[in-house]
């Protein structure tokens, strides 16, 4: 058999693999032993770096070894400051080696930032190039995106160039949460809204972004990354802190905020120029943070009250009026979302047309139904109220796995409409929320204002969500 290939049988090959694994395990244990012995003896020298380096280069996910390495480098550079730059440079190259083994190693990326923070001459631009390289190999490595945002800040890179980078990545593959997120961070810097600080970006840019995102959504509706970005654009973010509602009766005062606050900590001062200013506010739930706060006592129901809240040097006001001899109430209708300008509305209407066109031959397409509903609410949430509810009710059927989510969404929208009507009519005494198929009650901060709230005939209602029912003097029937 001269000149013929001799090949191991699979059993022989398996034996060889096993031998290799056994030896590797022994080497690993032996190495770890040696490292701990050296560390316990405080022998912080090159030998320790070399030993830990061997093991880390095979498995860069051992946080303990990275810690020991840092300990070692600190000791060595304290003893001999001249060695610092060599040591840091060497370790920087070493982490790169580890990242080639495991590009998603928390330890290796963190060690890199530690070196640069401690190194006398960090080269941040080099780090940016490194990120570009790694993101070329895997555009969805979120470790690397995170690191990139950090080094780009350190290197003082312009938002323009970073935006361009993000855009290229999105064009290549839009299933990329990291890139969409970075985009949402950069846009407010590059295209801030000229007048309204609560709006992240200008209307012109918003229009363009909406176009991009609907294109992504139509290309691959099952990819959720674009949807999340669309939500951000259309403003489904946390409401800004503000006063929401106030009610004073002879025995208690109730004040509510648009979001959870901790009055003992958050440096919020409430001034009313009445005896309330001296009393103590307690949260309704007893938790440290709450959106509804109560002060018990004996109060005089006399004049209208102007409530002022000061937070971070900003003052918010709420006018409360005496409506009868028993109560003084004030309510500020919340903003349920952004109010868009004409150009953006035009774009939203175009997109709505596209959705409706598509629904003609894909009537059960769940993502088209949802987008259409969200678009309608962004154009004019109350004008399209019935239509949006119709779409969401349909979604409960065609996408039954998420029926609960759609029901909650409908409940929220119904309540928004009720609240608006209530504030417009100025009648707060009795609030009728019966037979609305509610699953959850949002906007608790506004509902305690009524004396009688009817929630009957909502069979799927989660009563736990009706926190306002705990407020004294608020009669709720389920």
């Amino acid at each position: 058999m001269h000149g013929r290939l001799k090949v191991r049988t699979s059993a022989e090959e398996a034996a060889r693999k096993k031998k290799e694994q056994d030896l590797k395990a022994k080497a690993y244990r032996n190495g770890m032993d040696k490292i701990f012995t050296l560390r316990n003896a405080e022998n912080f020298d090159n030998n320790l770096l070399e030993l830990s380096g061997k093991i880390l280069s095979v498995n860069p996910d051992i946080t303990t070894l990275w810690n020991i390495r840092r300990e070692c480098i600190i000791k060595m550079t304290t003893d001999n400051p001249d060695s610092a730059s060599t040591l840091f440079d060497r370790d920087l190259n070493f982490t790169e080696l580890c990242l080639q083994v495991q590009p998603k190693s928390y330890g290796a990326w963190h060690h890199r930032s530690w070196i640069l923070e401690n190194s006398p001459k960090p080269d941040w631009n080099r780090e940016v190039s490194l990120c570009t390289l790694y993101l070329k190999k895997d555009e969805r490595n979120f470790h690397c995106w995170d690191y990139r945002r950090y080094v780009a800040r350190k290197a003082n890179l312009s938002a323009e160039s970073e935006f361009k980078f993000c855009d290229e990545k999105i064009q290549k593959n839009f299933s990329n949460y990291s890139s969409w997120f970075y985009r949402s961070q950069l846009l407010p810097v590059l295209h801030p809204h000229p007048s309204d600080s609560s709006r992240p970006i200008s209307e012109e840019k918003l229009k363009e972004e909406l176009e991009i995102v609907i294109t992504a959504a139509f290309t691959d509706p099952n990819d959720s990354s674009a949807w999340f970005y669309q939500r951000w654009l259309l403003g489904y973010s946390d409401p800004k802190l503000d006063l929401a509602c106030f009610k004073l009766t002879q025995s208690q005062a109730v004040i509510a905020f648009t979001k959870l606050v901790d009055l003992s900590k958050d440096k919020i001062t409430i001034s009313t120029n009445t005896s309330l200013d001296k009393g103590i506010w307690r949260s309704l739930s007893g938790n440290k943070s709450d959106s509804i706060w109560i002060q018990k006592g004996e109060f005089e129901i006399s004049d209208d009250i102007l409530i002022k809240m000061n937070h971070n040097d900003k003052t918010f006001e709420l006018e409360a009026r005496k409506i009868d001899n028993n109560s003084i109430i004030g309510i500020k209708l919340p903003s349920f979302g952004y109010e868009f300008g004409a150009a953006v509305k035009e774009e939203l209407k175009n997109q709505l047309d596209s959705c409706n066109q598509l629904l003609e031959f894909e009537p059960d397409s769940k993502w088209t139904l949802l987008t259409a509903a969200l678009l309608m609410r962004s154009i004019d949430r109350f004008q399209y109220h019935e239509k949006t509810l119709e779409y969401v009710r349909k979604l409960q059927k065609v996408d039954s796995l998420r029926a609960g989510y759609y029901m909650d969404l409908a409940s929220k929208w119904i309540l928004e409409e009720k609240l608006k009507n209530m504030v417009e009519s100025g009648k707060f005494d009795k609030i009728d929320l019966s037979s609305l198929d509610l699953s959850v009650v949002y906007y608790n901060q506004f509902l305690f204002i009524g004396n009688e709230i009817n929630l009957q005939n909502n069979s799927k209602l989660n009563k736990k969500s009706c926190k306002f029912a705990l407020v004294d003097g608020c009669k709720v029937t389920f």
Binding site: G3, R4, L5, K6, V7, R8, E12, E13, A15, R16, K19, E20, L23, K24, K26, A27, Y28, R29, N30, G31, D33, K34, L51, K54, I55, S57, V58, Q171, K172, N173, F174, I214, T215, A216, F218, T219, D220, P221, Q351, S354, Q357, L358, F361, E362
Partner: protein, 537 residues
Amino acid sequence: MDDLPKEFDLIVIGTGFQESVIAAATSRVGKTVLHIDQNEFYGGFWASFNLENFMTHLNRDTGDKKCKIRNVSQEWFEFTEEKSEINGWNKEKIISEGRRFNIDLIPKLNYCNGKLVELLISSNICRYTEFRAVDKVLTVLNGKIDVVPGSRADIFTKKNVSIIEKRLLMKFITQCVEYKREENNESFKEESFDFPDDGKFIDLMKQQKLTDNLIHYILYAMCMANTETTFKEGLEAIRTYLTSIGRYGNTPYLFPMFGCGEIPQCFCRLCAVFGGVYWLGQKINDIQLINDESGNELVKMNFGNEEISAKKLVCGLDSNFIDLNQNPFEYISRAVIITSSPLGGSTVNSDMDGGGVVLLYYPVEGKSDGITMIQLAHYTSCISKGLYLIHLSTTCQNGAKSDLQPFVETFLRHDHDAETEDDTKPTILFSTYFEIPSSIKGHDYVSQQNGPIYSCSGAFSELDYDESIRQSRLLYSKMYPNDEFLPKAPEPEEIIIGDDDDDREGNVNLGVLADLVPENKEDTDKVLEKEDMNKTQ
């Protein structure tokens, strides 16, 4: 060649694709193979050449050979004193660079998930070759060259496709991939097409309300089909396309670096690794069938002073030893064109570098197959930087020039006027036309062959190698019904080096951990002791 054995299990004449596959497969299962080519080069009709050898080869005297390249013509741009060069290139400069070129006689692409890629991986032959993913797929839409939105990223970024079209396109192609006729699941049926198998694919797309542009992209660019294509054929074509896209790049195709001539050669390499003997440039005088002592048929042949016998003989289409009545052939019309700017100009080449490999399928009215254009830039190592190698192929009907003229006259130009330059039409600096023999798709080449002399089919008029591989498998199983076809070749670490049997368990490679293995017994004991302690704990 003193020590050349006198007897082989198999002799293969010709180093074309199918011959090389058979040689590799036979050698791989431990049989002895002598692989001969009467040419001085590998590949036969499948070869790639530099410019000089390419021209020499096309123009060489092939005597009274029946199956050969025919109707060769060539033409250079007339460089004059006023027009001494175009984009820095003239005849002399191109010729002086010509050694860098790799010009294919028959250019082909592979589907990333096609039979060739599958075979290269399953047999481990992939280690002998390198590919480049095709960069762009073009099409001619309303008379203009346009980029086909093939992948999800393309569809997302494509400007002149409305969002509704994007949705329709994505939905249609997704449905094509998921479509199963056998599926009895009711909910599945609803999502499926209600359409007869033999209905026309184009009618299905119309039924699905796809717009004309979308139908064009799918029918002509993705499926390379025509209006007569049935639903079943179209479905298969689009599935091949879609399951290949995104595997190695943004398009579904691969092109071999250094040209298609590399493909047969990588099979030859495997054959040689397993002991196959190679002999190129050897004239073969005569072949005889004899019976050995036990009455078995043997093939005997003389070359030079040598007399060699083998149990079986395989001949390639270009070998002169096959019966052309049993193995009918036709021709492929070919053009090889060199330009100094990429096809389509700046409208489809944002950075004007022409990409690496560009594919365009151009349907021709009244002809079942259209013209396939493959444009290569220097990234493929087939042409110099700044030049573009344009390959045109179609089945031969009225001769190469006339068959390919519809494309050449529309998208290329013979003159050059820098002033009024329409940069979408590159000027032809050099062109050659020829017709090359090919086998007929659908013809049964294998079942009548009973040995001991077998013949191979040539290239088929297809974009990839699938039919050639299917034919190779058929022929091999006819020759060796009990032997496996190209099983996985061993990895380097599975190969035993030297004659020593001690290496059966082999050297283990521990990398940087090697010197951490406890050396002396004491250390090992300590580690083992600790392991025991850990276990008892």
